[in-house]
C-alpha cells in the first residue's frame, strides 16, 4: 500500500509537470497565435511599442519558451528574483510569479483565497453528501411512493437548474425578501465562526443543492441495485435486523460509487467553484480565476490552474486508496 501510494505520488508529480507544461504552453503560445502577445496584455490599454519591447525583456518573453518554462519551474522550486522598478524583489519558493495586474505574488494570493474555497467546498460537501445520500436512500426504500417521486422531481430540478439561477433566486428570496440572512461578507472561521457560517449558509445550500441532486439519484439507483443483491438476502436470512441490513450491508456497497464521485467532485471544487463564488461574491480561487481570466492575468490563471490540477490529481489518488479500503477486491499494487 505504501509503495503504491509512493508510486502514485510520483505519477501525480509527473502529471502535474505535464499539466504545467501544457497550461504554460497554452497560455503563453495561444495569445501569440492570435496576434496578441502577453507583453501587450501586460502593458494594458496603451500598448505603445516602446513599452511593449521593454516589457518583453523585463518579463523574459524575449526568451525561447523552454527558457521561460525553466524559469517558471525554478521559481516554484527555489524561488526567483524580480525587477520591481526601484529595486529587486525576491519571490520565495514556491514562486508562481507575480500578477500582471496587481503585482501581487501569486502563491500567497492563492493561499489567501484557499480558506474561502475550502470553507465553501467542505461545507457544501457535507450538506450535499448527507442530504443527497439520505434522500436517495429514503427514495430507494420507499420506491414509487409519493416521497420517492418528490425527491426525484426535486433532484431533477437540482440537476437542471444552474447555480446562476438558484443562487440568485436564493439570495433574492432569503436575503432581500424574507431577510432571513443578512447580506454579509465572508468572515474567516477563526475570526468569528458564527459570521463565517452565516455568510456561507446560502452558498453552501445552493451549491449543495446542485450536487445533492446527483447524489440522491446515484444513491437511489445504487441502493435499488444493491437491495436486489444476493448478499443482502443472505444478511436477512441470517436474521439481522432490517436496520442493520440497510445500515451496514447495503450502505457499505452504496458508498463505493459515492466515494468515488464525491472525491472527484470535492477535488474539482477545491480548485474553485467559479459560478458559486461569483454569484455570492466569495473571494475564493474560482473568483480569482474568473477575474484573472477577465483581465488576462496569465500568472494567476496559470497558478489557479496548477492548483486546481493538483487538487484533482490528489483527489484521484485519495479516491483510489479509499476504494481499496472499502473494496478489498481492489488490490493496490
Amino acid at each position: 500500500m505504501i509503495a503504491y501510494i509512493l508510486r502514485r505520488l510520483v505519477t501525480a508529480a509527473i502529471m502535474l509537470i505535464i499539466i504545467s507544461m501544457v497550461t504554460f504552453g497554452i497560455f503563453f503560445i495561444a495569445p501569440k497565435a492570435t496576434g496578441t502577445d502577453p507583453a501587450v496584455l501586460f502593458v494594458g490599454k496603451i500598448a505603445d511599442d516602446r513599452a511593449i519591447a521593454a516589457t518583453k525583456i523585463k518579463l523574459g518573453f524575449d526568451q525561447p519558451l523552454y527558457v521561460q518554462y525553466g524559469r517558471f519551474i525554478k521559481g516554484i522550486v527555489v524561488g526567483r528574483d524580480f525587477d520591481s522598478g526601484p529595486d529587486v524583489t525576491h519571490c520565495p519558493a514556491p514562486c508562481f510569479g507575480y500578477s500582471f495586474k496587481t503585482d501581487q505574488e501569486v502563491w500567497p494570493l492563492l493561499m489567501s483565497r484557499l480558506p474561502v474555497t475550502f470553507s465553501l467546498a467542505i461545507g457544501a460537501a457535507v450538506i450535499w453528501l448527507v442530504s443527497g445520500v439520505l434522500a436517495g436512500m429514503i427514495s430507494a426504500l420507499r420506491k414509487r411512493s409519493i416521497v420517492d417521486r418528490m425527491v426525484m422531481v426535486i433532484a431533477l430540478a437540482g440537476i437542471s437548474l444552474p447555480i446562476y439561477f438558484t443562487g440568485l433566486l436564493a439570495q433574492a428570496v432569503f436575503v432581500y425578501k424574507l431577510q432571513w440572512f443578512p447580506a454579509v461578507n465572508y468572515t474567516p472561521f477563526f475570526h468569528n465562526p458564527a459570521l463565517w457560517a452565516q455568510a456561507l449558509i446560502l452558498p453552501w445550500i445552493s451549491l449543495a443543492f446542485l450536487y445533492a441532486a446527483t447524489y440522491a439519484r446515484l444513491t437511489r439507483a445504487t441502493m435499488l441495485e444493491t437491495l436486489g443483491e444476493d448478499y443482502v438476502r443472505t444478511a436477512r436470512a441470517k436474521g439481522l435486523q432490517e436496520r442493520r441490513v440497510i445500515g451496514k450491508h447495503v450502505l457499505r456497497s452504496v458508498l463505493t460509487p459515492i466515494v468515488t464521485v464525491f472525491g472527484l467532485d470535492l477535488g474539482g471544487l477545491l480548485g474553485g467553484a467559479i459560478l458559486t463564488e461569483t454569484v455570492f461574491t466569495l473571494h475564493g480561487l474560482g473568483k480569482l480565476a474568473i477575474d484573472a481570466i477577465g483581465q488576462q492575468d496569465l500568472p494567476i490563471i496559470l497558478g489557479v490552474t496548477m492548483f486546481a490540477a493538483f487538487f484533482i490529481v490528489m483527489a484521484n489518488l485519495v479516491v483510489d486508496v479509499l476504494y481499496a479500503v472499502i473494496d478489498p477486491r481492489v488490490r493496490l499494487t
Binding site: 426504500l141 437491495l227 443483491e229 444476493d230 448478499y231 438476502r233 443472505t234 444478511a235 436477512r236 436470512a237 441470517k238 436474521g239 439481522l240 435486523q241 432490517e242 442493520r244 450491508h249 457499505r252 456497497s253 472499502i326 473494496d327 478489498p328 477486491r329
Partner: protein, 359 residues
C-alpha cells in the same frame, strides 16, 4: 387467507380451526403471488408438504418453477420490501409463521431455520471478511463477546473442512475458491445449530468433484446436528441420493410428491420422466444421456389452460384425455400423489414400458 382462484382440492379455505400438526415442518397450501407491472405472478400456488426432524426433503423442478420462492417464503423473506402476497400456513415446531410477528420470525431466521444459497460468490458480502460474516450471524442471535464468536467461527470453519481456518477466517470471500466459499457459506448457516436447514441449489455453481464433497458435507452435518433439511435442486439425481422424500414442482405447483424411491424409481408424472431423462448419468455417453424436455417453462402469469404441462407433454390428449381443458388435481388420499389426468395404471405402464428402458 387463500385466494378464490384456488384450484387445488386440499386448500384449507374454511371449516374447522387449524390443527397443530404433528410434523416438525408442515407447509399447507402455501401461495406466494407477486404483483408486477405485467400482471400477477403466481410463483408458488398452493403447495403442501411435511418434513420431520432428521429427515431430508428434496424439491426438484426446472428453474423458474418456484423453488427459491418457496424456501424464501418459509424463512419469511418475502415480508421485507416486497411486492409479494403470501398466504397459507407454515408450521414450524408447532408455531405458525405466516401470521406470526415479523420480529419473532426474524429471530427464528438464522437460528432455528437457516439457508445455504446457490451462488456463494454473490451470496456473501464482498466487503466483509468470511469471519466477520460468520461472527455476525452468531452474535445476532447469541450476543457475547467478539472473541468468543470468533473462536466459534473458526471452529465451524474447521468443521466444514476449511484448512488453516484460524488464518483464513480473516480472508475475504474473493480470496476463497468456489468450493471453499460454499463450505464457508455452510459454516455460516450452521453456526447457530439450526433445526431446519434449507439448501437452495447448493452445488449448482460448483464443478462436479466439488459438488460431491459438498453434498457429503451436508449429509454428514445433518447426521451430526440432526436437523431437518430441504435440498432444492433441478437435478433429480442429487435429490435421490440425499432425500427421504421428493417433491416435483412445475409452474409453481407440486406435480408429484412421494418417497424418494417412489419418485426416483417409479415416477408417474410425464414431467418427472422428463427430469429423469435429462439427468446426467455417469454410466452413459454425454451425447445420449441428456434428453431435455422440449419447450420452455410456462408463464406464471398466464398458465396454460387445463394441465399446465400440456404444451410440452408427450402424452397430452393421450387416448383422448382432456388435458387442455380439465385442470388435474393432486389427490389427497395417497402417499404418492401425482397431478396428471392419465389413469394410474396407464401411466405406470407407460413408465415401465416406454420410459424406463430408455433411461
Amino acid at each position: 387467507m387463500t385466494t378464490g382462484l384456488s384450484t387445488s382440492a386440499e386448500a384449507y379455505t374454511a371449516g374447522p380451526p387449524p390443527r397443530v400438526p404433528a410434523a416438525f415442518l408442515e407447509v399447507r397450501d402455501l401461495r406466494v403471488h407477486f404483483q408486477t407491472d405485467d400482471g400477477l405472478v403466481k410463483a408458488v400456488d398452493g403447495l403442501t408438504f411435511n418434513l420431520e426432524r432428521g429427515k431430508t426433503l428434496g424439491i426438484v423442478g426446472e428453474s423458474g418453477s418456484g423453488k427459491s420462492v418457496t424456501s424464501l417464503g418459509i424463512l419469511g423473506l418475502h415480508r421485507t420490501r416486497s411486492n409479494a402476497r403470501v398466504s397459507g400456513e407454515i408450521w414450524l415446531d408447532g408455531e405458525e409463521l405466516i401470521s406470526a410477528d415479523p420480529e419473532h420470525v426474524r429471530k427464528l431466521r438464522g437460528r432455528k431455520m437457516a439457508m445455504i444459497f446457490q451462488d456463494p460468490l454473490t451470496a456473501m458480502h464482498p466487503y466483509f471478511t468470511i469471519g466477520a460474516q460468520i461472527i455476525e450471524a452468531y452474535r445476532t442471535h447469541h450476543g457475547g463477546s467478539k472473541s468468543a464468536a470468533r473462536r466459534h467461527a473458526i471452529d465451524m470453519l474447521n468443521r466444514v473442512g476449511i484448512p488453516q481456518a484460524a488464518k483464513r477466517v480473516d480472508d475475504y470471500p474473493h480470496q476463497f475458491s468456489g468450493g471453499m466459499r460454499q463450505r464457508a457459506m455452510i459454516a455460516m448457516a450452521l453456526v447457530n445449530n439450526p433445526e431446519l436447514l434449507i439448501a437452495d441449489e447448493p452445488t449448482t455453481a460448483l464443478d462436479v468433484t466439488v459438488q460431491a464433497q459438498i453434498l457429503d458435507l451436508i449429509r454428514d452435518l445433518q447426521d451430526e446436528f440432526g436437523s431437518a433439511v430441504i435440498v432444492i435442486t433441478h437435478d433429480l439425481g442429487v435429490v435421490a441420493e440425499l432425500s427421504n422424500d421428493i417433491l416435483v414442482m412445475y409452474g409453481g405447483k407440486c406435480v408429484e410428491y412421494g418417497s424418494a424411491p417412489d419418485v426416483f424409481y417409479r415416477p408417474e408424472h410425464p414431467y418427472a420422466w422428463g427430469l429423469l431423462g435429462s439427468m446426467p448419468r455417469i454410466d452413459q455417453e454425454v451425447r445420449d444421456r441428456l434428453i431435455p424436455i422440449k419447450g420452455a417453462p410456462p408463464s406464471l402469469i398466464h398458465l396454460p389452460s387445463g394441465c399446465a404441462f400440456h404444451p410440452r407433454c408427450q402424452y397430452a390428449e393421450h387416448n383422448g384425455i382432456p388435458c387442455r381443458t380439465v385442470v388435474p388435481d393432486l389427490p389427497k388420499d395417497t402417499d404418492h400423489p401425482v397431478r396428471c389426468l392419465l389413469p394410474v395404471p396407464e401411466r405406470r405402464r407407460i413408465f415401465s414400458q416406454e420410459i424406463a428402458p430408455k433411461l
